[in-house]
Symmetry: C2
Subunit: 316 residues, 2 copies
């Protein structure tokens, strides 16, 4: 039996407009995408809050996939977190049109006692002070990954630094890493990030893939090439969920395992992009994962140097 | 003895401003960077035009590295092509401040007879009609790579399409591929590009690396991580030169060789960024190349899937 992954974050209803179309009341939120992706590999323990407008079927779907919902609070008469966004023709760019925190404004995660021994913890993008609150309820030896955003880097830097000191893996995109470090050079920015605490940073590069950096090593992966992208919402959260789910399944977080986990996150993120909301992610099969993993291997493989390479022999 | 690489393009004097500093009259131009990079691996046959303001030492340096200059015309009393640009704090972005074509305006490349049997040809970024003029002077079985730019995609599309029909390898950056294809999805844009003729496209992704696409396959490589970037001018041309030089050395252009060649181009491009102008590129040693090749291998290596992966077994 794989270790469970504890996931803490938003459960939301999204209004999404992409060049492909528009959908309202799409079930999402970072923790929802993350839980679905992680559930492909390991049991999940979910912590979140919804209003009674959140569809019961959506929670039922999670339960049917081995997600423990005892940490999900439903506020009677409350409204769920809502996000509304519009993607540009170049779907790497989006505008947030509206954010309504609703019941999420008072999110005060209290872990059910049976969650507290979780060895793999994903703190999705929430206020760093709330992430700290979760860290106070888990065991110090847990492997902790956290996500964040430009807003917290700007407005809650002190709390964010406290999270970083206690976390093992930072999950940020390249713009966030640059903003955090105040350095446009991603190599130096990544180094600065690691000096704040985490042993690893998994830097999301959008359509250019992802990068895993540690003090000594560096690993890069491309995206799974997709000719059809419907809605990138939740891709980063699905990346995190797939990555952490794989680590929990492997029960280990040394670098070789993290590299494979980065590939799993890349694959679950690619699935998330192929439909509005979580439809394609939910429909992910073992074949999808195996096929895309092989594709990533073949897309990145090249030969060692020929031994007879006469580099600049004419100048030597 | 390796096959020679024929390189046709600009030899220039650049005024360059980057966050690191400013330098005037820096010897450069696409063909100059390309020739230096290619000369690390193979003899080079150069075709270009300069004014008598172009430093003799710069031509002497090329000659000392096995670059045949019999195709380089010096116009007495003429001024060399001049480019002036300023890089932003984020050095992925630059503004062209001034371009003076000077003697390059009448560039009318006539290949010395001994150049005409070249098997590896790199048409650097010049007007497609001039690229066509070169194609008319070489043997049809030559392996031809071409570069281009947004201006020609916009203003000389018909000629560019003729170049594409006759070329083997398109060397463009991601923005150019998207612009050419009128599609922001890079997978679809790359496919559209290949339908116009070339068997391969090497798509430069700036700091995110490079991608090699063919009808059936796809290969990606990251950049060499550089904590110190002084001046990215000529990186794309050095990429092309290193790539084509390696192919010429290998005497072959099947995909495995192209993958290694893409790594060589990535390495020569990284060297070009480490100094103003060509200083670091010129100082490139066998050790630099071997070390960075090993680094690229280690940065991209990950394990095959474990056989016991119980993907979504709970749902099956």
């Amino acid at each position: 039996m794989a270790d469970p992954v504890l996931i803490v974050g938003s459960l939301a209803l999204d209004d999404i407009e992409t060049p492909i179309g528009r959908q309202r009341d799409v079930v999402g939120g970072a923790a929802y995408y993350g839980a679905l992706a992680a559930s492909l590999f390991a049991p999940v323990r979910l912590v979140g809050v919804v209003g009674d407008d959140f569809p019961q079927e959506a929670l039922g779907l999670l339960a049917s996939r081995g997600v423990d919902l005892s940490g999900v609070e439903t506020v009677e008469g409350g409204a769920s977190f809502r996000w509304s966004g519009r993607y540009h023709t170049d779907m790497n760019v989006r505008d947030t049109l509206d954010t309504q925190l609703n019941v999420f404004a008072d999110f005060n995660p209290v872990l059910p006692p049976q969650y507290r021994d979780s060895h793999y913890v994903f703190l999705a993008n929430i206020t760093p002070s709330v992430q700290l609150q979760v860290l106070d309820q888990i065991e110090p030896e847990a492997f902790v990954a956290f996500d964040t955003m430009n807003l917290w880097i700007e407005t809650a830097r002190d709390d964010l630094l406290k999270v970083m000191r206690r976390a093992n893996l930072a999950l940020m995109n390249d713009a966030e890493v640059r903003q955090f470090a105040g350095d446009t050079n991603l190599v130096k920015a990544g180094e600065a990030l690691l000096r704040t605490g985490p042993q690893y940073a998994a830097i999301k590069l959008g359509e250019y893939g992802a990068m895993l950096v540690s003090q000594r090593t560096r690993f890069t992966l491309p995206c799974c090439p997709l000719a059809h992208v419907e809605d990138p919402t939740g891709a980063g959260d699905s990346f995190a969920g797939g990555l952490m789910g794989y680590l929990a399944w492997a029960g280990c977080h040394e670098e070789e395992t993290l590299r494979t986990a980065l590939a799993m996150g890349t694959i679950t993120a690619s699935r998330a992009c192929e439909s509005f909301g979580t439809t394609a992610l939910v429909d992910t099969t073992a074949e999808h994962i195996l096929e895309r993993y092989e594709m990533l291997l073949s897309m990145t493989r090249f030969n060692p140097l020929p031994e007879d390479l006469p580099i600049i022999s004419s100048q030597d």
